[in-house]
């Protein structure tokens, strides 16, 4: 018990050290105690900046050939934080700003925010209580690299595979190094849950800043946090280990937040101040963090950003020169340029992400090559985002368009964010995008949640002071209609979550896979090669964490349909060696791959091995048989 408590305490200390301290120290160095950021913003942003800072600390280690150990990680974070703290102490910043009243909530709003936060965390936790176990395929793949980093004391090389990006694994490796947390525990899911929550909170502060309206921001918590709390890309992605998407949905809104704060001055047609430059520098820093964390999110971000710039300059065409002059003024400031140049140096000379070195960019652009990439239908979007939320979001988009403020950079961000993801996921041909459309469509729920909140507020808000604002909602009939929609949204959003709850899991197959893997791991020598089945074995992607002999060790018989995919021809040995181990093809494959251990589920793949005298059955439990090939 004492050991358990000690482990828990070290985990939370490591969590704070990796995910909070560096970012908080960086904010102190930049803003001191100034009220330019509220306490809540400072708290949320600290996590995002920590995530990116730790990445850069590790890249520096890589550049300086410093081994990644518990001590070096601890000292690296401490050194970075100490420098930031020293800068903060050295600078004598005056605290002249007043606390922004934007973050002063009424009693009702305050209670509602607490209630929504409670429901958000409660629903997600309830779902995760039955899915927190180390079973998800993606999570197993990702944790292999985090464990690899811990065991090899260097950044993962990914064996030249472009699908993995360094930023997805560093914090897991760092926390495991510092706390000794077991990769086969709930710790990876808990970290992802935290990042998921921070993404929702970032959208909350972002919405509050853009609309300057506490009700809209609070409603965003309802639409993004409480309703559809389980569906992708929320708790299901947390338990499924879809790390890049979860992190991307934190870092992308954070980047938008900083870009908005940097160009907020455009709304009032005033001159930019030094805060604009600082926020732009932070926006660029966050953008680099995004590029180091997830290529798909970064790719989507680029498209959104391009549309954002086009729309903003197009609607402000008359003030084109004035706006460009102001933007150049802050873009070519020392703080912005220095962050940009340092980021580029890291990106191209110190640690270049794997996807940038390989053909990943080429494969992301071009005509769709699979039917999963030809675009989602509205029916697909309905099931992805939630029917009610999609409908309300669409209404919100219409209202936003009708009330579009040309000078509002925030409105333009929301519009571009929604429109671009909608186009990318439904009409990929238009933009020559060759990526799975459903993966892009998952990103739409974030801006749609903001628009849903905006639509709901706009209809239900109390009597407007100006005629111009009130004409849309003058009809009581419309309000009744929206009450029905709201009821529909609540029922749809909550029922979506209840449907996702699993019955009590049977944990035995998981324990049996790990027991078999542990047995085999102890008996392997360097010359042995293992083949396992992916179709019928629980948590099979985690088996490689017992061996730690390479990402592609053991070999794996993949989903049967993949062997029939004409768009991507692949080797057939992994299929043949399990499905027909006594055939001549299989014998050639065994000789070619040196495979001598086979892990299968006895309920599906046993008879073919029992028939042969070339195989010994050396292990048996209800879910796993292991065979040893003697010839």
């Amino acid at each position: 018990m004492l050991q358990y408590m000690f482990n828990q305490i070290t985990f939370y200390i490591a969590l704070g050290l990796v995910l909070f301290v560096p970012g908080y120290a960086l904010l102190l160095a930049i803003f001191g105690q100034r009220k330019i950021l509220s306490n809540l913003e400072r708290f949320i942003i600290s996590f995002g900046l920590s995530l990116i800072s730790v990445d850069f600390i590790y890249f520096s280690f890589s550049g300086l050939h410093i081994s990644i150990t518990r001590l070096s990680t601890f000292l690296g974070i401490l050194f970075f934080s100490f420098i930031c703290f020293a800068i903060y102490k050295f600078r004598t910043s005056s605290n002249v700003e007043k606390e922004n009243s934007l973050f002063d909530f009424s009693k009702n709003q305050f209670v509602l925010i607490l209630l929504l936060l409670f429901l958000t965390i409660f629903i997600k936790t309830a779902y995760l209580s039955d899915t927190v176990f180390p079973t998800a395929t993606d999570m197993g793949h990702h944790m292999y690299w985090a464990k690899w980093m811990v065991e090899n004391h260097q950044l993962p090389t990914y064996e030249s595979m472009p699908d993995f990006i360094i930023g997805e694994h560093l914090i897991f490796g760092a926390i495991a190094l510092l706390s000794g947390a077991d990769f086969f525990s709930a710790f990876p899911v808990i970290i992802l849950l935290l990042i998921n929550l921070l993404g929702i909170l970032t959208v909350f502060i972002f919405t509050l800043r853009i609309f300057k309206n506490k009700t809209i921001a609070t409603l965003t918590l309802l639409f993004l946090g409480v309703l559809y709390a389980i569906a992708s890309p929320q708790a299901k992605f947390v338990s499924g280990g879809v790390i890049g998407n979860i992190m991307g949905n934190f870092l992308m809104p954070l980047a938008f937040y900083f870009y908005y704060r940097a160009f907020e001055f455009l709304e009032s047609a005033s001159m930019p101040d030094k805060n604009s430059k600082t926020f732009l520098a932070l926006a660029i820093f966050t953008t680099f963090g995004l590029f180091y964390t997830h290529h798909l999110t970064a790719f989507i971000f680029l498209f959104i950003f391009a549309l954002l710039v086009i729309i903003f300059l197009a609607v402000n065409f008359k003030n084109f020169k004035e706006i460009l002059t102001k933007i150049f003024h802050i873009a070519f400031s020392p703080q912005v340029l220095s962050v940009f140049v340092i980021g580029l140096i890291f990106f191209f000379f110190i640690f270049t992400p794997n996807y940038f070195k390989t053909s990943a960019v080429d494969t992301a652009v071009g005509a769709p090559s699979k039917d999963t990439r030809v675009g989602l239908t509205i029916a697909n979007l309905r099931s992805s985002i939630g029917e009610a939320r999609l409908a309300l979001g669409f209404i919100g988009l219409l209202i936003l368009s009708s009330r579009f403020k040309k000078r509002s950079f925030g409105y333009t961000i929301i519009f571009a964010w929604t429109a671009m993801i909608f186009i990318m996921s439904t009409l990929p041909n238009v933009l020559f995008i060759n990526l799975p459309s459903n993966r892009i469509g998952n990103y739409l729920s974030y801006p749609v949640a903001i628009l849903s909140a905006y639509a709901l507020y706009f209809v239900f808000r109390s009597k407007s002071k100006t005629q111009e604002e009130s004409f849309i909602v003058s009809s009581n009939l419309l309000k009744i209609g929206f009450t029905i929609i709201l009821a529909f949204v609540l029922v749809d959003g909550i029922s979506d979550s209840t449907l996702a709850f699993k019955n009590q899991s049977d944990l035995r197959p998981l324990a049996q896979t790990f027991n078999a893997s542990e047995y085999l791991g102890k008996n392997l020598t360097d010359s042995d090669m293992v083949l396992k089945d992916h179709n019928y074995i629980t948590a099979d992607s985690w088996i490689k964490l017992f061996f730690m002999r390479g990402y592609k060790y053991p070999l794996s018989r993949g989903y049967f349909k993949r062997y029939e995919d004409t768009t991507k021809p692949r080797e057939m040995c992994t299929l043949t060696m399990i499905s027909a181990p006594n055939s001549n093809d299989a014998r050639a494959c065994f000789a070619q791959t040196s495979t001598n251990f086979i892990i299968v589920n006895p309920q599906f793949d046993s008879a073919q091995f029992k028939k042969s005298k070339d195989f010994n059955q050396i292990y048996s439990n209800p879910e796993i048989n292991i065979y040893y090939r003697t010839n």
Binding site: Q8, F11, Y12, S38, N39, L40, F43, F103, D104, F105, F110, I113, L114, L117, F118, I121, K124, T125, L128, S129, V132, F133, P134, S185, A186, F187, V189, I190, L193, L194, L197, L201, D506, L507, R508, L510, A511, Q512, F514, N515, A516, Y519, N523, F597, K613, D614, F615, N616, Q617, I618, Y619, S620, N621, P622, I626, Y628, T630
Partner: protein
């Protein structure tokens, strides 16, 4: 002050959630009602084997078979959560014997087998 309360509330909720999930996440390690059978040395001709028990029933019966002929048998008691290595007499089978040697173990109504094909 309100913001600090919100931050503290978030921290408390996250701590409560994560402590619960940590405890829950380890439940699979104690998943009950199953057992595993394996050879001590999977590669050699040695037939010594291990039973690892996660079942509340503890009375195992085992047999050593040469093809279909029973060579020996015995009973062993293994508590839940424990494993025991069973050392057979003459467990090292000569490679002169070209036979299939099977270890058959049963617990209540459930029987499992592991085997080695010994070749010349």
């Amino acid at each position: 002050m309100q913001q600090k309360k919100i931050i503290i509330f978030i921290i408390i909720l996250f701590l409560a959630s994560s402590i619960y999930l940590f405890a829950r996440g380890d439940d699979y390690k104690a998943a009950p009602d199953w057992w595993a059978l394996s050879f001590v040395d999977p590669k050699s001709n040695n037939l010594n084997f291990v039973i690892e028990n996660f079942d509340n029933n503890t009375n195992f019966h085992y047999e050593l078979l040469q093809d279909t002929n029973k060579l020996s048998e015995g009973d062993v008691q293994i508590k839940a959560g424990e494993k025991k290595e069973l050392i057979l007499k003459n467990s090292e089978i000569s490679s002169q014997n070209n036979n299939k040697y099977t270890i058959r173990v049963s617990l209540k109504n459930e029987t499992k087998e592991i085997y080695k094909n010994i070749k010349n």
